[in-house]
Subunit: 448 residues, 2 copies
């Protein structure tokens, strides 16, 4: 066989890492363990030349050669041999600064940093575009699942109509455990922490912040915009109880922490909250630490991508796929072949995010009501006055001091009206506790 | 914002189609309906300049402008304005010839043709490589699911350990209907034909041939080889009975027509056959016309891609994604940035395909045996003599003329031994009919 162009210009590609924690060590492992596969595909080697760490003397599972570690990130950013800087320290400060400095010095950047990209994406991507540099960020959403690549390339011919994602493994692990084995949120969280599936400070995961960051990135690619993460309504899973999980099952639902983006006219719904979804939907079966993103495009219809959303090796798989992508550009002497969001800079536009109060979907409501005649009629009276009609009711279970849990599933209703109705119902003397409400998604972009 | 390079050199990209059936019309629809999205991403237009059809006068749902249709494919292949030829007629002859001629004339090629690529992939891809041209074939496997792109790029950093695919919608529709609603194979097939989910001649789908073609393409990309499709053991679903589906459920399995590729040492298992899989595995829940491919990589772990594996618009979504990919290369003045198999031509190697008789997995066996003492002992005696041990047994159900169905699930056993044992057991006077056997996959690359 003849030699390809790649081999005629074969040379090694030098990269540098900033950060050498779990993912950074994973990246070195993947490059090392799959060296021959990468060589068979690229026709050259990826060489890790420098790694910036806080403490060069710290014991690490993955060893690297003499002189590779440095405690000065500028040794990576300013090394003339290094063409790609991989930022893996996470968080906004100082990661954002390192990314910008690397771009300013003409380096391509690969990062898993969803915090920086969701809040400073415009700054990073615009600088990269102006300098004609590539930014790879496959690892920022869904770990090893190539969902960013799918949105930027595989589904490029589609208008994206909806995205529903389970994109936080910790939250999904906790909800799955509560659903399949029972247990209160606090107890399951503690066990998850013991097993290393939840951080000692789990708030980013369980409050939905991490999910919202990732959703912002998906929205930006899907719709060609830079969403303000503060416009994404975000609600975590801390108030989910075993009782609600049980009632959900009775109605044929599962509760999942979903990242939701929907194109509605020329606005976008963008929200993160625990959601009741039909148990028959593919997302309902995504359990444990697994992630999945269900996307509906106007040509492709429904597609779903499933896999491990975190962890050393899955995340490293995504980082190295970005490295290979940029190497392939370098071997051909091009860059910016594909813009970060897949849209040209000129085409990026502001899109209005719908106010959560304008949401128009079905709801699950749980009341603790005194068990006496006329209660349901008073509740439904208030709901009716707010144009909220009832789809089904369950009233049963242990009486707690003469009170019973009463559960109502509504037809589609305006959230603004629902919130008002809840305020009014909570004032009724037959209602003994705060009303729990959860949003329901019935279709989630599946085939009608 | 500044203008990007793309816009400075903005010009329309002219393409030509050979074949204007369902998929071809879908391609024109996608390009037309999503014109503004494609422009926002590419910075230029994709213009369909010529379309070769057999009969230019035939009535079609999708209309095109005057002078675009021609009944001479060479009008497409030789048009100097056309840089990308899209082959969508299917089948080997004359499609292969058109693809090769287009490449010889320096045109990039996009095709959905799994028959050509699985049997003449080496010829097509080598010619493209020698000429420095791109071949896009995302639509050849899994319809709109970007699984080819995932293997070539998203999972590029992995050694692929296994692939399990449900990649024929017709076969999956029939098996799903039989499982969820009951009914004999022949009846369900007839209803599928009435609904347009099965061809009037369904043999390619139900005999597993189409699945084997697609598996060959996945194997070639995953492992960097050109497998001979004749080496892929291929068995269809025509002998699956409602009884076996019912027994499968009792053991906690579902029956799916799977495309299987496994890396075992330096050999590959490559086979297509109805397979019993645990009902808890994500593939077990892929029903109806949906396709899914479950891949395990040594870094990423298990990932699954799910969506519609056929149909006008999903397939067109994949074709146009390939067009965009090649356009992005053209706008940067490069080609062959990524080889068809993702491996350099030099790295492509021959890999031995394991003989099906060397398979070492568990089996399901169903006997129609006379209901009298000692039968099980005689059967297990023969199995034991072939080193086949029994994992579980079910003996029950209606007596059919004094005979009962007897079902055995074995531990892992060599298929060679199993086949020999079956021959011997069929000679026993207590056995009344041919023995049915099905292969079982227990793990399918899921997390251990």
């Amino acid at each position: 066989m003849k030699k390809t162009d790649n081999l005629k210009t074969m040379k090694d590609i030098h990269i540098g890492l900033i950060g050498f924690g779990t993912v950074g060590q994973g990246v070195v492992r993947v490059i090392d363990e799959n060296r021959s596969i990468l060589r068979d595909k690229l026709g050259c080697e990826i060489v890790v030349k420098r790694i910036a760490v806080r403490d060069v003397r710290k014991e690490r599972d993955v060893r690297v050669g003499e002189g590779i570690l440095t405690d000065n990130p500028m040794d990576v950013i300013e090394d003339p041999d290094i063409s790609i800087v991989v930022e893996l320290i996470g968080g906004i400060t100082p990661a954002r600064d390192f990314i910008l400095r690397a771009l300013e010095r003409g380096k391509h950047v690969v990062t898993a940093n969803k915090a920086v990209l969701s809040t400073h994406g415009r700054e990073v991507f615009t600088l990269a575009g102006d300098r004609g540099l590539d930014v790879g960020f496959e690892a920022s959403v869904g770990g090893g699942i190539p969902v960013i690549r799918a949105l930027r390339e595989g589904l490029v011919a589609n208008r994206i109509d909806s995205i529903y994602g389970i994109i936080n493994g910790t939250a999904n692990y906790i909800l799955s455990k509560m659903t399949n084995e029972g247990g209160k949120f606090e107890d399951v969280l503690r066990r998850a922490q013991e097993k290393g599936y939840a951080e000692s400070d789990p708030s980013f995961d369980i409050e939905g912040t991490d999910t919202a960051h990732k959703l912002a990135i998906l929205i930006n690619i899907a719709f060609g915009t830079y969403v303000d993460t503060r416009d994404i309504y975000t609600e975590g899973i801390t108030r989910i109880t075993p009782l609600d999980i049980r009632f959900a099952r009775e109605f044929g639902y599962r509760i999942k922490l979903l990242a939701i983006a929907k194109l509605v006219g020329d606005e976008i719904e963008a929200r993160v909250h625990p959601t009741m979804i039909p148990e028959s939907h593919p997302l309902a079966k995504v359990d444990g630490v697994f992630n999945a993103v269900h996307i509906r495009g106007n040509a492709v219809g429904p597609v779903m991508f499933y896999g491990l959303g975190a962890g050393m090796m899955p995340t490293a798989s995504a980082v190295v796929s970005d490295l290979v992508d940029i190497c392939r550009n370098q071997l051909k002497g091009v860059s910016s072949r594909l813009t970060p969001l897949s849209y040209t800079q000129e085409a990026i536009k502001d899109i209005k995010i719908k106010n959560i109060e304008d949401l128009d979907i079905p709801y699950y409501l749980r009341f603790l009501a005194i068990d006496k005649p006329g209660v349901l009629s008073r509740i439904s009276g208030v709901l009716g006055a707010h144009n909220i009609s009832i789809s089904s009711v369950i009233q049963k279970g242990r009486k707690i001091g003469g009170a019973v849990p009463l559960v109502i599933v509504t037809h589609s209703a305006l959230e603004r009206e629902l919130r008002q109705a809840i305020k009014e119902i909570e004032k009724l003397d037959v209602i003994l506790d705060k009303i729990i409400y959860l949003r329901i998604e019935e279709n989630l972009g599946a085939v009608n």
